[in-house]
Symmetry: C2
DNA sequence: CTGAAAGCGCTAACAT
DNA sequence: ATGTTAGCGCTTTCAG
């Protein structure tokens, strides 16, 4: 391995000067800088990140926390989209991304321990359930952090405008003439709660009766299967809804299947609207009307915030990313 | 930060002995070991991975190479599934995962450079196109590596049995009575080529005429949109096929949409079979018959191989993971 | 069984 | 503008 000492030897300068060149110190003459750079090129020098981190206490690494236990995490397009967006700005700002699991070195440990051992500069959390005690330990630590889909007194957070999106979804169905509007919820997750809240609020504002039978919780991991089961229940209801707002596209897809299984048509018999706008939404039959989350913007913003914090900023803010209703074919006007 | 020196001071032993305890050296008395462990616990000691890596030249980090330029990468369920599987075994063996991009430190560089600077112990590649010159540089290096969806003389590789899967897909359609079987290809990717080959081979073995008009390439990134476009072309064909084998589920989904857009029914007018078995497949209407790739096994196997290589093993092998035909509703028997 | 000493590659005061 | 020195936290001979 080529080190700065090799370059120093070759050029006759000291290792310090060599180091200065690579760190863009101003107090190196242009001539020296050139010589050193040339020698580095010639020798094929590459810096050693570990050595650098050891002295500077900066690893230029950001940890990604995500749900590993439930199958969801990575496999959900939402997660993938956010990470894509996050990675783009993190990379451009010089940071690399590392997955932080509860285990390290093949042994059980915890998020905080893992972060400390790896010396990550900060962490981005994308979890459905932030109440995990192992997570709160990290939350109470001094590790810079930004959270997706969460509110916090002490940390920056980023999330979609779930409330607005839900209200618009219900309003949209209302405008199409629907009065019996059901909801398939996203369980006790941050987004699930917010969307439920938006649904309830919209129903109230529109002076629509809120019928308990028309509100069914899907699972916290937004699986299609749980959407299917929820819709089954909705269809059992005495006076089943003419339209359903599902808290996630996967839930909506499961719901669509249940409707079809009952020999009913979408949107003929029941209109369905989802939340997310996963890539698939436009390719379903019928194509799914949904509330689009801007996952890319979510990721971008989260990275901006985290890096700001890492680099000394201190604002604790909540960034709310606007959503957009995408009208397709799964809802129809009635009456 | 608590270091081994703090523990040494507290217990009265030398830093060396402390280090030995954490590295499970046998030549430390049980009593000493206990005292040191206790002190470590009490002080809240956590090792510093950078310092350790600096001396040992082992980072316990594995780099993930994936396609960042095309939007595909991370967003495709295939990728996510493989990484999930990979991560599980890597984590259990003590390794963490880091994304390796072409950039590092916010500057353009290259995969190899990035790997060297970060000192990863090995790399797993999941790329559609391994001919990227920036990648071949890494391929020619001494960095331990395993490749997905690729064959190589010098590196371990893991891939699904694309040939077998494709042959079975065609055979399945044949058994249902189909004789005019079209193919939507996965472009010039490893999997695309293999699946095309399987299609052609099966057609020949079944003594079915191979009609150029019935073979259309989708895009190398397997987008639904490209599947839709390909199917449009297939429908223009003078004597359009009664069944289509698509090289990926996304392609199949796009194809299904095109068929429906033409007022035709699946499987009434045209049968379609895909490849992948993404989570969505069973929830489409009609549900999609497809060839299931075991992404989890792919990831597991790749991790096993890579770690074996990292830890001194030298076998260069290709591991082929079996696939499975999942019959659903998008294909029907004719005549 | 325990410890002293050296060194991994780099950076940061602090001279000069 | 350049160099000296010390040290980041840990492991590894090698001696005792």
């Amino acid at each position: 391995m080529i080190t700065i000492y090799d370059i120093a030897k070759l050029t006759g300068f000291s290792p310090t000067t060599v180091s200065k060149v690579f760190n863009d110190y101003p107090d190196v003459s242009l001539k020296t800088r050139r010589k050193i750079l040339e020698a580095a090129e010639q020798l094929g020098y590459l810096p050693n990140a570990h050595a650098r981190s050891l002295t500077t206490k900066r690893s230029w690494t950001i940890g990604i926390l995500y749900n590993e236990s439930s199958g969801v995490g990575m496999l959900h397009p939402y997660f993938a989209g956010v990470i894509e967006g996050f990675k783009k700005v993190a990379t451009s700002r010089g940071y690399d991304l590392m997955f932080i699991s509860k285990d390290i070195g093949g042994k059980k440990s915890g998020y905080l321990e893992h972060c400390k051992i790896r010396g990550v500069d900060g962490v981005v959390g994308i979890l459905p359930d932030y109440s995990d005690p192992d997570f709160t330990e990290l939350l109470d630590s001094d590790v810079p952090m930004v959270l997706l889909d969460q509110e916090s007194e002490t940390r920056g957070t980023v999330y979609s405008d779930n409330l607005d999106g839900s209200i618009r979804a219900v309003q949209y169905l209302y405008d199409l003439g629907h009065r019996k509007i059901g909801h398939i919820g996203g369980g006790n997750t941050f987004a699930g709660v917010k969307r439920m809240q938006g649904y309830l609020q919209a129903m109230q504002e529109l002076r629509l009766p809120i019928c308990e039978e028309h509100i069914i919780q899907g699972s916290y991991d937004y699986t299609m299967e749980s959407g299917r089961i929820a819709m089954e229940q909705l269809l059992q209801a005495a006076d089943s809804p003419t339209a359903v707002f599902a808290a996630g596209d996967n839930l909506a897809i499961g719901a669509m299947q249940a409707v079809k299984d009952h020999g009913l048509s979408i949107p003929g018999d029941i209109s369905i609207i989802g939340f997310d706008d996963i890539a698939m939404a436009g390719f379903l039959t019928p194509s799914l009307t949904t509330v689009r989350q801007n996952t890319h913007a979510l990721g971008n913003k989260a990275a901006d915030m985290l890096i700001y914090t890492i680099e000394g900023g201190t604002t604790i803010s909540s960034e709310v990313i606007p959503v957009e209703l995408v009208a397709r074919d799964s809802c129809r006007a009635i009456e």
